[in-house]
Amino acid sequence: MNHQVFDNVLGLGCGVVVLSAVVTLWRHSLIAIIRALAVQGVALALVALTLGLHGHDRGLEVVAGLVLLAKGVVVPALITKVVRHDVASRETDPLVNVPASLVAAGVLIFLAFAASRSVTALTSNAPGRLIPFGMAAMLIGFFALATRRKAVSQIVGLLLVDNGIALVAFLATAGVPLIVELGASLDLLLITVVLRVLATQMRRRLGTVDLDGLAELHD
């Protein structure tokens, strides 16, 4: 793979990761949000695969396959099942409304680039310069976590944070060790399963999957 193609494909993957993160803030429909998450997973796998092919790293290619399977297919499918049971499958009333969220996302992306200036200054190759994208995805995920009401959008936020961290890891160190990546993916899978149970229980007990309902448990 020549350098030009490598740089372009890598840039495309990172761009899609950030763009899909912004899409999760933009859309109301939970199904659309999950789809954006799936796209992000695929883009992440693409980045890993590109890096693996370029660096002739067989381990990273395997990781790319696993990422595609876990983040691109299995986790979104599991979350989709939760949403299917929910009648009102829309993020109707976020704590920060959509236009303001998009502005905030812009500010966060700017912050990510500003903060990682010192890191990008160290390196001249393509992966190093793309690190801010991972950070931006992570910050947007955190923002979604803090402002979205539905349990499903919360877990999507958490997965965005994880994807952002994974992207930084791929770009900065040419991939975390296989075993660490496996462990992290397994954790997320577990969290997703827990979310399914929690969402089912919440619906049964409180009649809603709105997280603010939990505040009533506070004394």
């Binding site: 990510a112 200036r117 010192s118 955190f142 803090a146 603010d212 506070h218």
Partner: protein, 666 residues
């Protein structure tokens, strides 16, 4: 350092063994550890050469540095003086609810740490051991917390004050270490001389507050009357006799060793703190009715006296009267050793009384001398020792201190002269109040008639408990009759602490001859003549009584046939005249409730009278602070309303702020 190893094994034994073997195995291992450390420290004191031990692996980054100097060695001896009898006592006492796994393990750890704290010779080692000492003793204070709310409250007070104190000590150490570029005491000592006077003063004051809080000096004394009564008895004895003395060790370590002495005003502060503590402690001891609380206040009193002597010593050295300074410091350390002996004995007997009668309240005790003759006799002797009656050890200590102060009223420094003169008066008043307090404790508790069924049914306690307290009382007598060995050891320790002051020993054969002042005391001769006089009096009485027949009649009951326990002086009524004299200082809360019969206002149906003496310093100093903290706590509750989103937003905000800082700074 073998002793420390044995101590750790003892703690493990306490934690692991089944209940039947736990306490005996752990206690005997602790005793082995104590004796090993005692042997090491005696060797250090006899030869004057330090024992050194260093390990890189035990603590990460810094390693452990232990260096037992003669000054440290005398404090190791002091710890063993209490630890050995207290551990013996524990064997018998453990059947009364002090045999749990955590108690056994913590007790062994506490004793072990106490034994090696005086040998710590680097900042990391010292702070590690110091905090271990605080934590294990805190856990021991909380032994009874499941059943008693007072124990929980005591734990909170003790925990907060001891940790605040540790923070001050840490700050002092860090300032000193950052200047010298090394964290070992030896390097710090050699660099401290080049420090600016202001920095030296700040370091000393920080250390004074930190160690003062551990020593229970006014105004940091508030934890003593709470924690000492609630801890299991052997632990109260160790805390009061040994741990509190290590607070004074810390002040001497900083003032005399690490900073190599300082200007007069430092020591004036120490002297004033000591004097105020002595007066305050003895005054409240007079007014306490809880036996262990009385002893705890009396600890503040005794530590105050020792600190007064330390302050006087500093003033003497700073004004160029080195020999007098050495004498005062000898008096201070000797008084601490004495205090370990008699206060240890008093706490152990108080614990026996509590076990036997189920109460510590003097107003419910009485007549115990007849029911527990051996423990009672031990209490009386120990009380005589704390009242500084010859021929016991308290007398020799106070004699040394009085002599050094009286010789030092003409120093040539006006402030010093006035301070020393005033402190002589304070010392005399405190000594007098101590006598009142212990006449009350011994008289109301052990003489007369029992005031409650519990006291009436009291029986003599287990053998090991009597042996434990008896051992301490024997030490009191030996240290009073023949103090020469201990004094020589103390002098060697003081010489190590004040290396630039040439001093000769006060011990001259069987006499104590003051150095740098006139004054001779021959304790052995004094004891012998007292014993002779006693024998003479007894035999004279025998001889005279033989001539006349002895007539046995009923005691005169003021014209009444029936004498009840309620006609006796109570602890409260005995203290009332003193309370009246010091009314303005103590400000007792008196409450009289009169209820009348419904038909007439002239006929009284019932009257109740309540009188309580609160700790004035606690009320004035701590109550406002607690109020403010509580209010802030209420504000802090608003930060956590239970909304998941709010918590997540906190996280996001923290992350964004961090990144902003990175963005701006990078």
């Amino acid at each position: 350092m073998v002793g420390a190893l044995i101590g750790v094994v003892a703690a493990a034994a306490g934690a692991a063994l089944p209940k039947r073997w736990r306490v005996p195995a752990s206690a005997s291992l602790v005793l082995c550890g104590c004796l090993t450390e005692l042997a090491t420290s005696i060797r250090v004191l006899a030869t004057g050469s330090d024992a050194h031990w260093h390990s890189i692996d035990l603590l990460p980054f810094t390693g452990v540095t232990l260096l037992l100097t003669p000054l440290g060695a005398i404090f190791v001896v002091l710890v063993t003086v209490v630890a050995v009898p207290a551990t013996l006592y524990w064997i018998g006492y453990s059947s009364h609810g002090a045999s749990a796994r955590t108690t056994a393990c913590n007790y062994a750890m506490f004793v072990t740490v106490l034994l090696i704290v005086p040998a710590a010779a680097s900042v990391a080692t010292f702070m590690f051991l110091w905090e271990m000492m605080a934590l294990t003793s805190l856990a021991l204070v909380l032994t009874d917390q499941g059943r008693r709310a007072a124990a929980r409250s005591a734990g909170v007070w003790y925990g907060v004050i001891t940790h605040a104190g540790a923070a001050f000590i840490m700050a002092a150490f860090l300032l000193l270490a950052s200047h010298s570029g090394s964290q070992t005491f030896v390097a710090m000592t050699s660099h401290a001389r080049t420090l600016a006077p202001g920095a030296r003063a700040v370091i000393f004051l920080l250390a004074l507050v930190g160690f003062g809080s551990k020593a229970g000096v006014v105004p940091f004394h508030v934890w003593l009357p709470r924690a000492h009564p609630e801890a299991p008895t052997p632990v109260s004895a160790l805390m009061s006799g040994a741990m509190v003395a290590l607070g004074v060790y810390g002040i001497v370590l900083f003032g005399n060793v690490l900073l190599s002495g300082g200007p007069v005003w430092w020591w004036l502060i120490v002297l004033a703190l000591g004097g105020v503590s002595a007066l305050f402690g003895s005054l409240h001891a007079v007014n306490s009715t809880d036996l262990k609380k009385l002893l705890a206040y009396s600890t503040t009193d005794n530590i105050g006296l020792a600190l007064l002597a330390v302050g006087a010593s500093g003033i003497f050295v700073a004004t160029g009267h080195g020999r007098l300074g050495a004498l005062s410091l000898v008096a201070a350390v000797f008084m601490l050793v004495n205090h370990a002996m008699f206060k240890g004995a008093l706490f152990l007997v108080a614990g026996s009384v509590q076990v036997a009668s189920g109460t510590r309240d003097l107003d419910e005790l009485g007549g115990l001398l007849r029911r527990m003759p051996q423990s009672g006799a031990l209490f009386l002797v120990a009380a005589a020792a704390i009242c500084a009656l010859p021929p016991l050890n308290g007398f020799v200590g106070e004699w040394l201190l009085f002599q050094s102060l009286l010789q030092g009223v003409n120093l040539g420094s006006t402030a010093g002269d006035i301070a020393i003169t005033v402190s002589v008066a304070a010392l005399a008043l405190a000594a007098g109040l101590t006598i009142v307090a212990f006449v009350k404790a011994a008289g109301v508790g052990f003489l007369g008639r029992p005031r409650s069924p519990g006291a009436n049914d009291a029986r003599e306690v287990a053998m090991s408990m009597r042996v434990g307290s008896g051992l301490l009382v024997v030490m009191c007598v030996v240290a009073g009759v023949a103090p020469m060995t201990i004094l020589s050891a103390v002098e060697r320790a003081v010489r190590a602490a004040l290396p630039r002051v040439g001093s000769r020993s006060v011990v001259r054969g069987l006499q104590l001859q003051l150095v740098g002042a006139r004054g001779v005391l021959a304790p052995t001769v004094l004891a012998a003549s007292l014993a002779g006089a006693l024998i003479l009096a007894v035999s004279l009485r025998r001889a005279l009584a033989r001539r006349r027949a002895v007539r046995v009649v009923e005691a005169w009951g003021s014209g009444r046939e029936l004498v009840t326990a309620r006609m006796q002086y109570t602890a409260t009524s005995f203290a009332e005249p003193v309370q009246r004299v010091f009314d303005d200082v103590l400000r007792p809360v008196r409450d009289v409730n009169v209820s009348h019969v419904a038909e007439s206002r002239y006929v009284i149906e019932s009257m109740s009278y309540r009188s309580r003496v609160d700790d004035g310093i606690e009320r004035a100093l701590y109550a406002p602070v607690i109020k403010v903290i509580r209010r802030w706590g209420q504000y802090a509750r608003r930060l956590q309303p239970g909304s998941v989103h709010r918590y997540l937003a906190y996280g996001l905000a923290a992350l964004v702020v961090t990144l902003l800082v990175v963005a701006v700074a990078g």
